[in-house]
Symmetry: C2
């Protein structure tokens, strides 16, 4: 982070000089300056130079550090803010996004009550059913970019809203980055689980992909969610990624949708 790619005059060709010899470059590989700056800021985020919730240096400071104009830094930050990695706050500075922030609570939970806004039922009650070490099955290994048989942590829990069990979740985590995670910690932490991951393990979830299906309640789900055998449930399989698209969590949720629904906006 001390040395920086500087282009004192004009354009930049992804670090390579525009030699006359390179007559037919298969990939022009033109990368705008602001994209390179974006990459440098991303590195700082990934390496923990600035942690979730903290301010990053001002645009002017970054511009001086990277030897570019403030406008170029601005454009880089604009994109990172659009991807929810950074949060701008006028007059205060630019902050590293965090799942602990109150205004984005449950950023990745799209199940909302049929009546009333998202958080209107008070805090969710969490019951940890189990939390243990295990070996990755082929499916789990593929999702987490591990090898079959690698050590993973597996947890199962039930979330209840207003006393009604509504969500059952199975969570798989790679064992190495989450060494030391216990059922007690999961149960006692107040706030989003992804905020716990930030504070205890320096893992910040940035993005996730979900596959959603309708499935009947079987295999003991009926008891845990207190519904009749065969009741249709929403099956939500999620892979969550940290910076640079590294998968760090597999989660399989079963949602009751008799009093809640999954809400999505298309644009």
């Amino acid at each position: 982070m001390s040395q920086t790619p500087v282009s004192s005059t004009g354009n930049v060709f992804a670090g390579a000089d525009s030699s006359v010899l390179a007559s037919a470059p298969v990939t022009p590989a033109f990368s705008p300056l602001y994209q390179q700056i974006k990459g440098l800021i991303l590195n700082g985020l990934r390496l923990g130079e600035w942690k979730p919730g903290e301010v990053i240096p001002s645009e002017m400071e970054l511009a001086a550090r990277f030897r570019v104009s403030q406008g170029t830094v601005r454009k880089a930050i604009d994109e990172l803010a659009a991807e929810n990695l950074l949060v701008r706050r006028q007059g205060k500075g630019t902050f590293v996004a965090t799942h602990a922030a109150q205004y984005v609570q449950f950023r990745f939970l799209k199940l909302v009550p049929d009546s009333g806004p998202p958080g209107s039922e008070g805090p969710a009650q969490r019951d940890i059913i189990e939390c243990r070490r295990a070996r990755a099955s082929a499916d789990v290994a593929r999702a987490l970019a591990l090898r079959t048989g690698d050590a993973v942590l597996q947890a199962r829990r039930v979330l209840s809203f207003a006393g009604t069990p509504t969500i059952l979740e199975d969570i798989w985590l790679p064992a190495a980055p989450f060494k030391g995670l216990t059922a007690e910690r999961l149960a006692n932490y107040h706030g989003p689980t992804y905020a716990l991951f930030e504070t205890d393990f320096n893992v910040h979830m940035v993005r996730a992909e979900e596959k959603i299906r309708a499935e009947p309640a079987t295999d003991g789900l009926e008891q845990l969610l207190k519904v009749a055998h065969g009741t249709p449930l929403l099956s939500v399989e999620r892979i969550a990624f940290t910076y640079k698209d590294v998968p760090m969590e597999l989660r399989r949720g079963y949602y009751r949708t008799d009093t809640h629904h999954y809400h999505n906006t298309l644009s």
Copy 2:
């Protein structure tokens, strides 16, 4: 569109002058110039000055028309492009987004096959079950911002992929803007339904909200989708909006999720 809000020097206070008398403005109502320009372009889109698929004037032309700098127009267009209302194409111009474009086919359909990319099963087969005039129920009226009993068009159809009936959809449309829509037109049009709406009725869908639940197949859904009674289906209720957030379609879909799944990206 002939006269434009011009601020020859510096800042703009939403058209109101900064009179010394206005001591305590409840709403500061500061609106950046580029937001106003964005609104003007939006008006042009809504009024059909430029239709889906067409080019809009170049940034320089718009800058001259609105008497602002090219950079200000650029920022306005940037936001409209981010909202998928416009599409920029370097070297060619900026185009009005359209559902007829091949690269965004089925923009609002998030059901994808379990194996293979979205369109890999060939075109969907469409069977129109019915298409008739009706009166809006209280629910339908609320969704479409109509009054109970107002005239609506209702259609029911089945979409099949590779010969397997996969989606049953009920569609409600306000009768007035869609006057003349027939089952034949719906059945014979090749391409996304929202593209048909653009070409035949000048209605461009911009955004949609979906509520998703798991529900058992009943009430004849079993026969139409060829599944056992009680099979869990994904219930997807969608309200689609045109420019300026005017609701123009209510759609209730039932998706089979034995070979497909609803895919969503969180960020």
